[in-house]
Amino acid sequence: MSDTTQQRSDVLIVGGGLMGTTTALFLRRHHGLSVTLLERELIGRQASGTNFGNVRRQGRDLAQIPLANRARAVWSRVNELLGEDLEFVPYGHLRVCYTEAQTAKLEQHVRDVQPLGLELQMFSAEALRRRWGIFSDEVVAGSLSPLDGHANPRLAGPAFGRAAQRAGAHIHEHSEVAHIERVGAEFVAHTVDGRQYRAPQLLVTTGAWSARFAQDFGEPVPLDARGPQMGVTEPLPYAIGPSIGVSTPIETEGLYFRQIARGNIVFGGGLKGPAFADAMRAYVKPDNTLRQLRELRRFVPAFANVQLIRVWSGIEGYTDDWVPVMGPSARVPGLHYAFGFNGEGFAISPGVGEVMAELIATGRTSTPIDAFSIGRFAPAEQDQPITT
C-alpha cells in the first residue's frame, strides 16, 4: 500500500452522524488532536437528519440529565460556534398529559430533576388554556421546561461536519468501513474501496449500524433499527413557540409537535416504523400516519382543518434497555462507543461530542456516563478486559 492510501491520525471516528461530527469538532477545538472521520454515505443523513429536532431535557432518564444540561449549554452558543444558523429556538418544551395518574408522574419528575439543575414548571389545565389556548379538554396538566426548545436536524449534522472540517478534521464521505482491526497499539479501518485509516484511538458511532463493529471487538449489544414516523403540515400563521409532547404510558397515544418559523407544524411520535439498516431505507407506515392525525386532532382540535403535506423516516438505533451505549470499551483500550440513543439523541448530541472528546483526549470526563457503559451487556465469563 502506498502512503496515500494509509492515513494516520490521533483519533479515528467511524460514523458521520451528530455524535461523530460533534466529537470531531470538539477534539479539534478543545484538545487539538488530529481527527479523521469516515462516513459511509453523507454526513447527518439518517437518525441525525430525520429526527424531530427536539432540544429537550425533561422527560429523560435521570442518568441523562447532567449530559443533557451540558448539551443545552452548547445549544445556547451553537450559532456562534458553527457560524451557521441551526434554527435553534429556546422557546421551551411543554409536556402534557391526559390523566391524573400521569399528572402525578410529571409532578414527581419535576421534583426529581430539580436537584440535577433542571427547573420545571407545572401547569394546570386552566393555566395551559390561559397560556396557549390550543389544547382540547382532555389535557389535564403539563410541565414546562422553559429553557428547552427545538432546532433543525436537517441542518445540524452537516453544519457540525463543516465546522469540524474548518477546524482541521479530515471528513471523508462515501467511505464505508468494511472492517476494523487492531494492529499493535493501533486500529486500522479498511474501507470497502480498499483505503486504510490508522489511529491509536477509535470512536465507533455508527448509529443503528454499530452493533456489528462492537461484536467484532467482542462486545455484543442488542440493537434494533427502527424508523421515526414524521410528518409536516402546510404552513400556518406562526403562533406556537415551544416544542410540545404528550406524556403517556400508552405507546399509540404518543405524539409531539413543534411549529417552525416558516409556520409548518412538524410532528411525530407513537409507534415506530420498519427500518432496514442494510438497505439504508426506513418507511412510514400509513396506519401510523392516520393514527397520528387522530391523536393530533384529539390533542389540538384546531388542527383538523390543516393539511399534511409530507411524511418521512430515517434509521435510528434502539437498545433493548432503552439506555444509550456511550463511553470506553470494557475490553479494548483506545476504543470508544457512542450509539443506541433510542430516538432521543439529537438534544444531547453536542454534549455527547464534548464528553467523548474529553474522554478520548484525557481519559476522563467531568460528566457522569457510567450508566451508559457497554460493559452492562457483557456476558459474565467475558468480563475481563483484553490486554494487548
Binding site: 437528519g49 452537516p158 412510514v284 393530533l296 393539511q307 403535506i309
Partner: protein
C-alpha cells in the same frame, strides 16, 4: 380459484381502457379516480348542468372522447368505481386511498396494481411567475373545458410543446384575446425530430394547421425566444411578459394572464412509493419509471401505463392501459386474460412503438430548455411552495457542498412544500447540476414521499 384483486388508479384514457380489458376478461376491478367523473384530464367531462357537445369540448378529438366516455359508461356496473378518491400512498400489496369530501380512508389489498396516473404540465420558472395571473397551460385549458372560463381577457402563452398551440387555438375559438404565443423551441424542427414526428403524419399536419390558424387570426407567434421575466404588481397581478426574441432583441407583450408550460411531466409519485426503479430519459431529460414493453414495472404486481409512465399522449395511453391490464392478468395466470394477451400483445406493442417514435420527435422538436433553468438569475423563485430562489439552490451547492438533488432539498427546502417538487423539481435539478458542474442525470432524483397530494388532518382511520 378466487378472482384476482386488481386495482386501477386513474380513469383517463389508460385507466378506462385498462378497466375495460379487465372486465372483458371477467375481472371486476376497483377503479380509483381523483376526478369527479371519468375521462382524466384530456377528456375531462364537464360538470352536471353544462350542455356543451363533445365536438365543442374536444374538437378534433371529439370522437375519441365520446368513445371513451361511452365505453366507461357501459363498464359502470362491472367495476367498483370510486371517484373523488385519492390514492395517497402505496405499500407492498396495498393501496391506501382517501375520499375527498368525507375524509374516509380505505386500504385495498391487490394482486395487481395498474397505475395510470397521467401527467401534469412541465413548468420552467420565469422570474415573476409566482404572481397572480400565472397559470399552467393545463390549468388554462381545464378552466375552459370544465368551467367555460378563460384565465384572462388578454392572454400570453409561453413555453413549448403541442399543448402550447392547442390551448392558444382553443382560447381563440372561445373568443379570448390571445396576445402572443412564445415558444422557446426553434421554428423548424431538426431532421431527427421530423423523422420522429412523421410516425403520426396526420397529427403533425394538425399541429401545422393549428399554427396556421393562429397566424391567420392575428396571434403573434414567436419561436426560439428566451423568457426574461413576467412583470406585474401585487395588486394587479401580471401585466407584461418580457422576452428576448430569436435575434436577441428584448420585446414585451402586455397581458392580464399568462399560461406557461413546456410539454408534460409524468406523475410518478405512486410508482416511486411502490419502490419501482427509475431511469433517466435523456431526450426529455426526466426520470421515468422503468417498464418493459408490456408495462411491467420493476416491482412485481405493479404495472404502469399512460402518460404517468411514458408521455405517448392519449391514443398511446389507451393502448398502454389495455396492454398493461392484459399483461397483469397473464402474469396472474388468468386463463381468459392470457388468451387476450396472446392475441393482442404484438399489435398493441406495435401501436406503442409508433407512438414512441412520435414522442421522441416531439421531445426533440420542442426540447426542454434546460439551459434557461441553469441560467436563471439568483433572485428568481424556483420553488413557489417554499419560496426558494435559484440563488439559495446554488448556495446549497457552492457553500454547503450538495452534489445530489435530495441533499440540495435538505439544505434549501426546495421540493419540500405542497407540490413536493412536482412543479419545480426538474428546473431545480438543472440548477443544482449546473452549479455543481455535474451532468443532470448524475445528481439523482427527488424522492417522493407520501401523501401523493396533501391530506387533511381530519382524515379518518378505518377498521
Amino acid at each position: 380459484m378466487t378472482p384476482p384483486r386488481v386495482v386501477v388508479v386513474g380513469a383517463g384514457p389508460a385507466g378506462v381502457r385498462a378497466a375495460q380489458a379487465l372486465v372483458e376478461a371477467g375481472v371486476r376491478p376497483i377503479v380509483i379516480d381523483e376526478g369527479r367523473r371519468d375521462g382524466g384530464q384530456i377528456y375531462r367531462r364537464q360538470p352536471d348542468g353544462f350542455t356543451r357537445t363533445h365536438a365543442m369540448l374536444y374538437g378534433s378529438e371529439a370522437a375519441k372522447a365520446q368513445a371513451l366516455h361511452e365505453g366507461f359508461d357501459t363498464l359502470r356496473e362491472h367495476v367498483d368505481y370510486r371517484p373523488e378518491t385519492l390514492a395517497w400512498n402505496v405499500t407492498p400489496g396495498q393501496l391506501h386511498t382517501v375520499h375527498a369530501s368525507s375524509g374516509e380512508t380505505a386500504t385495498l389489498d391487490f394482486d395487481a396494481l395498474i397505475v395510470c396516473a397521467g401527467a401534469t404540465d412541465r413548468l420552467m420558472p420565469v422570474p415573476g411567475w409566482n404572481q397572480a395571473g400565472c397559470y399552467s397551460l393545463g390549468a388554462a385549458q381545464i378552466a375552459l373545458k370544465a368551467q367555460a372560463c378563460a384565465i384572462g381577457s388578454r392572454v400570453v402563452f409561453m413555453g413549448s410543446g403541442p399543448l402550447l398551440y392547442l390551448v392558444a387555438a382553443q382560447y381563440v375559438k372561445a373568443g379570448a384575446k390571445v396576445e402572443a404565443v412564445l415558444d422557446t423551441a426553434p421554428a423548424l424542427p431538426t431532421f431527427a425530430a421530423l423523422r420522429g414526428l412523421l410516425n403520426r403524419p396526420r397529427l403533425l399536419l394538425r399541429g401545422l394547421a393549428l399554427k396556421a390558424m393562429l397566424r391567420l387570426t392575428g396571434v403573434k407567434l414567436l419561436n426560439a425566444i428566451t423568457p426574461l421575466r413576467i412583470e406585474g404588481t401585487p395588486e394587479g397581478g401580471v401585466a407584461e411578459v418580457a422576452i428576448h426574441d430569436a435575434r436577441g432583441a428584448e420585446r414585451a407583450f402586455a397581458c392580464d394572464a399568462v399560461g406557461l408550460g413546456w410539454h408534460l411531466r409524468a406523475e410518478t409519485q405512486l410508482a416511486d412509493l411502490a419502490r419501482c426503479e427509475f431511469a433517466f430519459e435523456p431526450l426529455s431529460r426526466q426520470w421515468l419509471p422503468r417498464i418493459d414493453a408490456d408495462g411491467r414495472s420493476s416491482t412485481p404486481g405493479v404495472y404502469l401505463a399512460g402518460d404517468g409512465a411514458r408521455l405517448l399522449g392519449a391514443d398511446g395511453a389507451e393502448a398502454a392501459g389495455r396492454l398493461a391490464a392484459l399483461a397483469a392478468l397473464h402474469d396472474l395466470n388468468h386463463a381468459r386474460g392470457r388468451t387476450l394477451f396472446a392475441a393482442e400483445r404484438m399489435s398493441l406493442q406495435r401501436t406503442l412503438a409508433t407512438m414512441n417514435g412520435f414522442r421522441e420527435g416531439l421531445a426533440q422538436a420542442f426540447p426542454w430548455p434546460h439551459a434557461h433553468a441553469a441560467a436563471l438569475p439568483n433572485d428568481a423563485v424556483v420553488c413557489r411552495c417554499e419560496a426558494v430562489t435559484a440563488g439559495e439552490l446554488r448556495r446549497s451547492v457552492l457553500e454547503f457542498g450538495s452534489q445530489e438533488v435530495n441533499r440540495a432539498k435538505a439544505f434549501s427546502r426546495v421540493g419540500m412544500g405542497r407540490c413536493q417538487g412536482r412543479y419545480c423539481g426538474h428546473a431545480a435539478a438543472e440548477i443544482v447540476a449546473a452549479a455543481a458542474s455535474i451532468p443532470v442525470e448524475q445528481i439523482g432524483r427527488l424522492r417522493s414521499q407520501a401523501p401523493v397530494k396533501p391530506l387533511l388532518m381530519s382524515t379518518q382511520e378505518h377498521e
